[in-house]
């Protein structure tokens, strides 16, 4: 087993943890953080492949992922703040305006 497989497995495991976090957390902020972790997991794979395939395109892709993640976080937190103003909480379970009880 080469080292590349190690990086790939690490990426998948980290992605799994991020997914798990997205599923089990109820705090909207922490759910957004889990998305960040998943993006980072993908970044690890991209950079690892870029290193082992000796092609810098992977690193450029990672740069784009980082930049777009920053933009997404910025707009996501603005939306979160708007929701918070209406609901007074970041607990996703309380956002049940459209649910029939």
């Amino acid at each position: 087993m080469g080292l590349l497989n190690g990086y790939l497995v690490l990426g998948v495991l980290l992605f799994g943890i991020g997914l798990l976090g997205f599923i089990i957390r109820r705090n909207l902020i922490m759910m957004l953080i889990s998305v960040e972790i998943m993006l980072n997991a993908v970044n690890i794979k991209l950079v690892a492949l870029s290193h082992f395939m000796q092609d810098l395109k992977g690193q450029v892709m990672t740069l784009f992922v980082m930049a777009s993640a920053a933009g997404a976080v910025a707009i996501g937190l603005i939306i979160l703040l708007m929701v918070y103003r209406n609901k007074g909480t970041v607990d996703v379970e309380k956002y049940d305006l459209l649910r029939e009880d």
Binding site: L4, I17, I37, N40, V47, F64, A69, L77, L81
Partner: protein, 174 residues
């Protein structure tokens, strides 16, 4: 075991541990600190992968900007410890399904990959010209159009800041 492997296993261990601890921590500020550890160690992993520029950009952008934004958000909204209950996966069947799904990704991702492509940026070439120069040239020459799209993407939050200043109406709707 060679030095590379020891370093890799150290970084991998800390990354997985801090991601796990961060996502199971109930106090949001402590969770963010674990995530900070995670991001810094991912930067270290990038160093191992000969992506120096990216390693420090990872720390600058993720740890120094995005996570700070989250932290300020937490302090401002005064988010306290959340209750210990799950939003999704409340019964065991769904947990098993989720586990199967994750392991499917795991197996798919690590086994089906065939590593054949060889690019032109060998380590020697990178050392000769300087990795940041090659990275910049590649970025601006070959990815000009995505860069322009990215500019529009980053424009959105700048325009969206105005949403924060919308006054609430009396009936409570925004």
């Amino acid at each position: 075991m060679s030095v590379v492997r020891i370093l890799f296993f150290y970084f991998a261990f800390v990354i997985l541990l801090s991601a796990f601890m961060g996502l199971r921590q109930r106090s949001p500020v402590k969770a963010l600190l674990w995530i900070l550890l995670l991001f810094v160690h991912i930067g270290g992993l990038y160093l191992l992968l000969n992506a120096e520029v990216l390693a420090f950009l990872q720390i600058i952008i993720y740890a120094g900007a995005i996570l700070v934004l989250y932290l300020i958000m937490l302090l401002i909204l005064d988010v306290r410890e959340e209750e210990r209950s799950m939003l999704y996966l409340k019964n065991w069947q769904s947990r098993i399904w989720a586990g199967l799904l994750v392991s499917f990704f795991f197996i798919l991702g690590s086994l089906t990959f065939v590593n054949k492509h060889r690019g032109e940026h060998t380590l020697d070439k990178l050392k000769e010209v300087g990795p940041s120069k090659i990275l910049g040239r590649l970025l601006f020459e070959d990815f000009t159009f995505p860069l322009i799209i990215l500019a529009f993407l980053l424009l959105v939050p700048l325009l969206g800041i105005g949403l924060l200043f919308v006054k609430r109406r009396q009936d409570g709707s925004a």
